[in-house]
């Protein structure tokens, strides 16, 4: 048996009030794709940050090859051949691809002039390896998110990588873009690089990985060969119980139309959008990224002015001028970007959750802190949010737990129209099905729910009707009985029947 390229032994890392890693051991073989799985807050990102030199462990050892190392910082980790591809991109949009890849180490000629020819050549060699459709001189800002991710990866290839870490790389990629990413991973694999792959998406894990290691509450649960296990078995190891994944066929009476949109347009973003959502109904909006779904949601929430069309709430035409206005009319929006739009990272969990209603949660002139804590506790239990307490800053929570805070924040508003945009991005399987169940229950209680999602299983799972969108237009509306995966895929790629209902 060959030696691992990387071996972590008995790693311990604590934060105030949290034992994030409790004696975790983990190793990666050359040429394998090794998945790291676990619930939100299990410690996956923390483990990788220890490996990447971003956090110093409180105990344990790291070996790269046969040599024991301490990672003093990200640069040192990179020099040792450990490359970390973060979920958040860190590129300079105004610079070219080549400049971004070699930033800080541009090849030089005499008098410190940049050797542009050499730079372009070197870059193109790397890009050819990655098999991408752009070249060294393209401006990074002009690339799609997936291609920007490719640039990040190309950056990684300028060093002699021994191991590459991907932390939830596909969270914002479209299906087509994922295919490209997977090709790159398999090329790296052929060169004998060890890959660590973090994701909550089971279908990906089973498609591309060789082995799966599982963490639970900071503890190592074991490693299994992907070919010898099943989704259920992995889930059981992750959450310690079985998961009920059947579709919830709770049929309840639909009420009146809560939200109706007629001929809504907004410049080039979307045109002639008409639909209605009744009380008790969950309507899914499915389409590719850029189909205009988020923009519709933002219009309904008062963040954009429509150029034409009408919005009716409970049958009455309204003009929604600001989020404040939308909230007052009983609309809630769980936005797509939790860090940018959903949370104040430097604020504690409780204050984030009650932010939209803080004006009303008062006793006398003061904020009623007891009531706030009660709301927080209720949704912490409901959504299984892992945090040492409400005082923890949201920025210190794991990615998935942050998302749950955003969801709790808007559910606690008890809206009559609830719009959720990519609600389960970065959320683990267990909580995901919990959130789906919650959405169904809310509908049963008479909420009108609009679910925007790029995950087909998600819309198929929760929606009563599915609206398929393609490039700013509604292509077709399906009921949950008639929808099939194929017809849905056709509709969102702009292939099928045009002016359907």
């Amino acid at each position: 048996m060959t030696d691992p390229v990387l071996h972590l032994d008995n790693i311990v890392k604590t934060f105030p009030g949290v034992r994030a890693l409790d004696g975790v051991s983990f190793s990666v073989m050359p040429g394998e794709v090794h998945a790291l799985m676990g619930e939100n807050g299990a410690g996956k990102s923390t483990l990788m940050k220890v490996l990447g030199g971003i956090y110093q462990p409180d105990g344990g050892t790291i070996h790269v090859g046969k040599e024991q190392v301490t990672m003093a910082g990200p640069l040192e980790a990179k020099a040792k051949g450990i490359v970390f591809i973060h979920q958040e991109l860190s590129l300079a949009e105004e610079l070219s691809v080549a400049e971004n890849i070699y930033l800080g180490e541009l090849p030089r000629k005499s008098f410190g002039r940049v050797d542009w020819r050499k730079l372009t050549e070197q870059t193109n060699t790397i890009l050819k390896k990655l098999n991408v459709g752009f070249d060294a001189t393209t401006r990074v800002g002009d690339l799609s998110i997936a291609n920007q991710q490719m640039v990040e990866i190309a950056r990684a290839l300028t060093v002699d990588a021994k191991a590459v870490i991907f932390d939830e790389p596909t969270a914002s990629l479209t299906d087509a873009e994922k295919v490209v990413l997977f090709d790159v991973i398999s090329d790296l694999q052929k060169e004998g690089v060890g890959i660590i792959y973090i994701s909550h998406r089971m279908e990906e894990i089973f498609k591309i990985t060789d082995r799966i290691s599982i963490l639970r509450d900071g503890q190592y649960q074991g490693t299994v060969n992907t070919s010898e296990t099943s989704e259920e078995a992995v889930t059981q190891m992750m959450i310690g119980r079985k998961l009920d994944l059947s579709r919830m066929e709770t049929h309840h009476e639909l009420g009146d139309v809560a939200l109706e949109v007629r001929g809504l347009s907004c410049g080039k973003l979307y045109q002639d959008i008409s639909f209605e959502i009744r009380r008790g109904e969950v309507v899914g909006f499915y389409g590719l990224v850029g189909a205009g779904r988020t923009e519709i949601a933002e219009t309904l929430f008062g963040l954009r002015d429509p150029s034409a069309g009408q919005i009716l709430l409970d049958g009455e035409e309204v003009r929604i001028t600001s989020p404040n206005d939308a909230i007052a009319r009983g609309i809630s929006l769980v936005p797509e970007d939790r860090k940018g739009q959903g949370l104040v990272l430097g604020m504690n969990c409780r204050d984030n959750m009650t932010l939209p209603q803080v004006q009303d949660l008062t006793s006398g002139p003061f904020v009623a802190e007891g009531a706030e804590v009660a709301i927080f506790d209720q949704y912490r239990d409901r959504l299984d949010i892992r945090t040492p307490g409400w005082k923890q800053l949201v920025g210190n929570l794991s990615g998935g737990n942050q998302q749950k805070i955003v969801i709790g924040k808007w559910l606690s508003m008890h809206p009559s129209v609830l719009i959720v945009d990519e609600p389960t991005r970065g959320i683990d399987v267990g909580s995901k099905s919990e959130i789906h169940k919650l959405l169904r229950e809310l509908a049963a209680q008479g909420y009108a729910v609009m679910v925007i999602s790029s995950e087909m299983p998600e819309v198929l799972h929760v929606a009563d009707r599915i609206v398929a969108m393609y490039s700013g237009r509604i292509m077709r509306t399906f009921t949950s009985e008639e929808v099939t995966e194929d017809s849905l895929i056709q509709a969102i790629s702009g292939l099928s029947g045009h002016e359907a209902a």
Partner: protein, 324 residues
């Protein structure tokens, strides 16, 4: 676990650095001049810090909301001159509300530019620093302003009076600090200030009106400035046009020293009060060990740099940047 890593020491130093440095200062000053720690001296530090302190309370709101206010020094000169002038023309009972109204108008104007027009607060308030100075000179015709009958006016109680043998300026400072501290920590408005400063997009998505919140912060700042101007005018009963010159930096130093981040979203009134006291003690200590008062201008600068550095160091958990 018993052995602290280098990183942990760095974090502790960065987080508590100000307090550590302060303790070292206090010990050194006391050794140099034992009078430093006497009750009389402590009292006099608090009294002389009151004007600066009152202004720092308002600026705390502005800084937490993610903005700056560099106009408070010249605005304080304006308030002082105006209230002294009006004192003799319409009497103190009308002069005080009139001065407050005029100062609040200036605050409202800045709040409109920064809040509703979304202009950069550094540029706006730096411009206002000189514009208000011009306004003050125009108002006074460049003359010093003096009250005619200095003995016979009750106006002097704000700066010179005392109740229960505590000087009135201290009482005003403490009362205002308590009131604004509660507003910031306990009311919905205070919560909104933190949200807007922490992430204004997320605040907007939560239905908070950013513009209105920022506007109100500048009104609060102007109110504090007017109060400081009142104390100043009442203490001296006469003033130059430049009485508040340079205070904007000292105020900012006190606020940052207290731990409010220039990026917005963090800080408290209590910490600002601590910052004000630290600054006051350091300046007083420098005088007591025999340095000229103008040395404090340099020292103030050093303190600002130190405070900003430690703020950033605490965020990245290291004293030095790893990417030079």
């Amino acid at each position: 676990m018993a052995r602290l890593t280098k990183q942990q020491i760095g974090t502790v130093l960065a987080k508590q650095g100000i307090l550590i440095a302060f303790a070292v200062f206090m010990v050194a000053f006391t050794l140099a001049n034992p009078k430093f720690i006497s009750v009389d001296n402590l009292f006099s530090v608090v009294r002389s810090s009151a004007i600066l302190g009152v202004m720092a309370l308002g600026v705390t709101f502005v800084v937490i909301s993610g903005n700056l206010d560099l106009s408070v020094g010249s605005m304080m000169s304006f308030s002082t001159i105006v209230v002294l002038d009006l004192h003799d023309q319409i009497g103190p009972a009308l002069a005080i509300p009139a001065m407050f109204a005029m100062t609040l108008c200036l605050g409202a104007f800045i709040g409109f530019l920064v809040g509703y027009l979304r202009l950069n607060s550094l540029i706006v308030t730096l411009g206002m620093l000189s514009a208000i100075h011009g306004l003050t000179l125009t108002y006074s015709g460049g003359q010093n302003m003096d009250i005619a009958d200095k003995e016979g006016t009750w106006f002097s109680i704000f700066g010179q009076g005392s109740a229960l043998s505590i000087p009135v300026p201290i009482l005003i400072f403490v009362a205002l600090a308590a009131f604004l501290g509660i507003v910031l920590a306990k009311t919905p408005f205070g919560r909104k200030v933190y949200a807007v400063g922490g992430n204004s997009t997320a605040a907007t998505f939560s239905g908070i009106r950013r513009a209105r919140t920022v506007f109100t912060c500048y009104l609060i700042s102007a109110f504090c400035v007017a109060t400081a101007g009142l104390i100043q005018a009442s203490r001296s009963l006469g003033s130059q046009n430049t009485v508040g010159q340079g205070l904007e930096l000292e105020v900012l130093a006190a606020v940052i020293l207290g731990g409010a981040s220039l990026l917005g979203g963090s800080g408290t009134i209590f910490k600002t009060v601590i910052g004000v006291l630290i600054l006051g003690f350091i300046q007083n200590g420098l005088l007591l060990i025999g340095l000229q008062f103008y040395v404090q201008f340099v020292v103030t600068w050093v303190i600002i740099i130190l405070a900003v550095w430690l703020d950033i160091a605490a965020k990245r958990g290291k004293l030095l940047s790893s990417i030079a």
